[in-house]
Every structure is written in structure tokens, then in C-alpha cells.
Amino acid sequence: MMAVRIDPRKVWLPGLSLVILLLLAVLPYLRPGYTIVLVYTILMYVVLTMSWALFSGPTGYISLAPAAFFGVGIYTSAMLGKALPLPVLVCVGGLISACLALLVGALTLRLKGIYFAFFTFGLVELMKNFVLWYEVKFSGVRGRFLVIRIDNITIYYILLAILAALLLTTYVIRRSKYGLALQSIGQDEEAAAHTGINVTLLKVVIFAVSAIFIGAAGAIWAIRLTYIDPYIAFDALNSFMPVLMAIFGGIGQIYGPILGAAVFSYLREILITRFPYHYMLLIGTILLVAILFLPDGLVGLVQKWHQRALRGQHANT
């Protein structure tokens, strides 16, 4: 009898994500117009943040490379946008980013701790300068206009599909032995290596997997941008935001980064429209407060309340 009992704690989260995905899938029929643009902006940040957390969450390696992968995706669209159909374009963007991640990962994932953060941050700047140099020298342009005409609803559905694939990937990796291996790397890398885990290979592969989704998101985001140059494509903010959003949500749990990205990117959109000249000041202050007072993020806060509520119940009975 015990074998068929379903643990509600294990079912409600995947169930809830499925319900949310379904709701998001019918949203364009319910609320067309600006809502779609707002929601797909949020979806884009959720994809970036979840991809970041897929690798950096369990391992504790702080990657500042997302902007580099995102930019590679954007430039894939810019250069191949006319030649390839959209779904192929998105996949190609993801694959090129993954190749870059394999290369960079193989070179640098032996580095410990903060060096990795420095290195990946430099990568963004390197790509920006390299692409700028290439464009000026060989293409004779500084920026490019994208003339692919695709409506917002298609962009929305593609981002939603990327998110669904990412959710599935994250879930499968976390539940597999590789998820456990990643966590053991985060806790003690030497001990993990001693138990027979090929730590370098695992790190490089998961780093590349996370880059696929960031690159794919970049490829579709390029179409929304319409005009791009290296400064827009390789904006370091796209590295900082996923890290900060994930920390804001709490990286201990699978849903922490999702919650953090959803709440924070919504907040960001509101702040940008209300206070266009001061929003970075407000965002910086909010994040600073969160880093100081919410070390476990929003999820930690929710858990604390939950535990307090439980304790309250016990005290009453």
C-alpha cells in the first residue's frame, strides 16, 4: 500500500507549474495587447534567471556570463535572421551559445570561487569589443536593423516554449543523479571528486546546457529589439540581473529563482514606467536591502513565515 501513496509535497510543485504554464498558454486569448508584451518581458527574465540558477545555484560558481550568451543569441538572429526560419534560428542561437560555453567552461571551470566570476564578467566585455571590432572592420557597420516582421504573440509563444523546455530540463537534472552530483560539487568539490564524480566534465556540460536557453532567449529577443549594436547586445546588465533576481528569490529551491525573476522583473517594468530617470537607484536600493536582510531570498522569507505559522499552531494545541 505504501508504494502507491503519492507524496503531496512532491506533486504539488510540478502540478502548479503545469497549471501556470497552461494559464500562460491561453493568456493571449484572454488579454491581448500590452499584457502580452509585459508578460513576455517577464518570461524572458525568468528564462535568464532559471538558466543561470541551473548551473550556479547548486554549484555556487557565480557566473557573470549570461550577457555574453544572450548577446551571441542576439547576433545570431541579426546575422542569420533572413536566412533561417524562426524556430531554427532560436535553436541555432542556443547551440552557438552552448559552443561558446563549452569552450569557456573547459578553459575556466578549473578556477575556484571569485576568479570564475571575474573571468566570466570579462567575457562579456571581450565579446562586446570583439564583435564591435569585427563589425566595423568586416561588415562596415556599427549596428544593425532587424527587419524580420514577427508579431508579439509569436514571440510570446516561443519564449513560453523555451521556458517550458527549461523547466523540464531543470526538473529532470535536479531529480537525476547529476543534480545530486552538482550539489555535492557546491558543498565540497574535492570530496565530490573523490566519490568518483568527473567534476570538470559535469560542470562544463551543465554550464553549456544553461547557455543553450540563454542563447535561445537572446535569438528571439533580438526580434523585439529591432535595432542592435554590440553595446545593446552585450549589455552587462543582462549578467547582473539574473544573478540578482535569483538571489532575490532565493537559490536554495527550484522555484526561488522563478519567483525572484517574476516578482522583480514585474517590479522593474513598473519602476521603469513610473520613474524612468531614477529606476536604477530604486532597483539598487531594493536589492541592497534584500542582500542585507533576506540572505535566503523571498523563498526563505516565505519559509520562515510558514514555520512560524506551524509553530503557532502547535503552541495553540
Binding site: 555556487g60 578553459l107 570583439f130 536604477m280 537607484l281 539598487g284 540572505p295
Partner: protein, 288 residues
């Protein structure tokens, strides 16, 4: 011959600035363990304040030193006393403190940049000061750039002597090796770390002042210098003030050589050096 001399002198001029910037970050990261990504913003503040003093009040840029340095020092000191001290007290391990303080420095970067852009706007600012050409054995440079190098050397040397010869310098070196043990030996560690952070900010602002004498400045200039500072600090060896000094000149020379080939590739070259260094000698040239 003249071209080689040209390249070398240009490299030294650039290197002096890099050395100052990197020494500042070395104080903050090497000693206080804060990987301060907002370092470049203090450079920007130094440059913009000097520009304002020069164009609005007609103050000699070199006197800006007396304003930028102390101002940045106070900001840095207070930041460590309030923000980073608290982060350090609430972090379970040094590794966690490193990540949290780095994230906090991202937020600081947003805040400082936004405040600066409210004050100064997005325009590129520049002024002309001591643009008289000076002939050095056939190679011609602006007097302002030579003054910059002189200042960088003097400040670098003075700072080195301060760290190497004074009692406070000894406390700083002890804190760089092991902050908690230094605390047990009677070093007032919170004071020392806050002073280091303040010195780091002051060096950045002074470098910003010198930069504004030679190049145009703008609110979003900080990030590039942050990266250069990170590279030089790793190049020189973490926590090693002389290492950062030498590393700065080394990178300046490389930059100058690459610039003669293609100016837009200098950051790419720095990054390649960074890659090679991290792979071959992650301790840096003077690290222990």
C-alpha cells in the same frame, strides 16, 4: 627607434593610471575581501567632480585631488562601516561573504551610476589642461600626460611606503594575510578594513581625476576600468600592492603595443592575457 620609444612611453603613461586603479582595488579585494564591482564608479566620480571643479569653478584639476580623494575616502570608509561590516558579521563563511559583498557592490554600482547620471547627464565631458607638447628624445607627448605619470608614480610610491613602513601598514598587511587572526593579535580589524576600503575608493577617485586630465569622461565610463582593475589585481597577485603596481605598468605597455596595431583590440588583448595568466599562473606575478 622613435616609434619604439613612443610606444614604451605611451605604455608607461597608461600603465601609471592602471597601477593606481589596481592598487585601489587591491586594497579593497586583497585586504577587505570585497570584490568591488563599483570600483569604476569611484573613478568616474573622481573624473566628473574634477571636471565640474574645472569648468564651473575654474579650479586647477590637480587641486581636485584635495577634494576627490578625501570625499571618496569618507564614502568608502562609511560604506564599509555600515554595509560590508554588517554583511561580514551575518555571513557564515568567508566564501559566502565574498559572494554577498560582490552582489552588494553590483547594487552600489547601479545606485552611484544613477545618482551621477541625475547630476551630470549622459554627455561626454572634457576640458583642456596643460596640452602643451613636450619632446622626449623625439617622442612627443602632452605635458598633462607626463604630469599624470608623475602623480601616479608619486602616489603609488607613497602608498607603498605607507603600507611597507608604518604601523598601520603592518596592520593592513596582517589583515590581508588573515583578518581574524590579525584581530586576535590586537589589530582593530573593523577599523583597518574600513580604512582599506576608504583608501581604495580614494585611489580610484584620484585616478579618475588624472584620467579626466587626459581623456574625456562620462557617467558610464566606470565599467571598463573595473575590468582593467580586476585583471591587473589578478595579474599582480591578490593583496600584493607592489604586484598591482608592476602589473599596471605591464598591462599599460601591452595596451600601448596593441593600440599601435589596432586600438579597438586593446581590451581583447587584456582579456587574452587574463586567460593565459589564470591558466598558467593563477597566483599572479607577485602572489605567494
Amino acid at each position: 627607434m622613435v616609434t619604439i620609444l613612443n610606444v614604451v612611453i605611451a605604455g608607461l603613461l597608461l600603465g601609471g593610471l592602471y597601477a593606481l586603479i589596481a592598487m585601489g582595488l587591491s586594497m579593497q579585494y586583497g585586504v577587505a575581501r570585497v570584490a568591488n564591482f563599483s570600483h569604476g564608479e569611484f573613478i568616474m566620480l573622481g573624473g566628473m567632480i574634477t571636471w565640474t571643479l574645472r569648468t564651473v569653478f575654474g579650479v586647477n584639476p590637480l587641486l581636485g585631488l584635495a577634494v576627490c580623494g578625501p570625499l571618496a575616502f569618507v564614502i568608502g570608509y562609511l560604506l564599509h562601516r555600515t554595509l560590508f561590516k554588517r554583511l561580514s558579521a551575518t555571513s557564515a563563511s568567508p566564501g559566502i561573504f565574498e559572494s554577498r559583498s560582490m552582489l552588494a557592490s553590483f547594487s552600489l554600482m547601479f545606485i552611484i551610476q544613477n545618482i551621477a547620471s541625475i547630476g551630470w547627464g549622459p554627455e561626454i565631458r572634457g576640458y583642456s589642461y596643460l596640452h602643451t607638447p613636450v619632446d622626449l628624445a623625439g617622442a612627443v607627448f602632452g605635458a598633462n600626460r607626463l604630469v599624470t605619470l608623475g602623480f601616479a608614480l608619486a602616489i603609488g610610491l607613497g602608498f607603498y611606503l605607507f603600507v611597507a613602513r608604518t604601523r598601520m601598514g603592518k596592520a593592513i598587511r596582517a589583515a590581508a594575510q588573515d583578518a581574524s587572526t590579525a584581530g586576535l593579535m590586537g589589530v582593530n580589524i573593523n577599523l583597518v578594513l574600513a580604512l582599506c576600503f576608504g583608501f581604495g575608493a580614494a585611489l580610484a577617485a584620484v585616478a579618475g581625476m588624472l584620467i579626466s586630465m587626459c581623456y574625456p569622461v562620462r557617467v558610464v565610463m566606470g565599467q571598463e576600468y573595473t575590468i582593467i582593475a580586476l585583471i591587473v589585481v589578478v595579474l599582480g597577485g591578490l593583496g600584493s600592492i607592489p604586484g598591482s603596481f608592476v602589473g599596471g605598468f605591464l598591462l599599460g605597455l601591452v595596451g600601448s603595443v596593441v593600440t599601435t596595431v589596432d586600438p579597438s583590440l586593446s581590451l581583447v588583448a587584456y582579456y587574452l592575457i587574463f586567460v593565459l595568466l589564470l591558466l598558467l599562473r593563477p597566483k599572479g606575478i607577485m602572489g605567494k
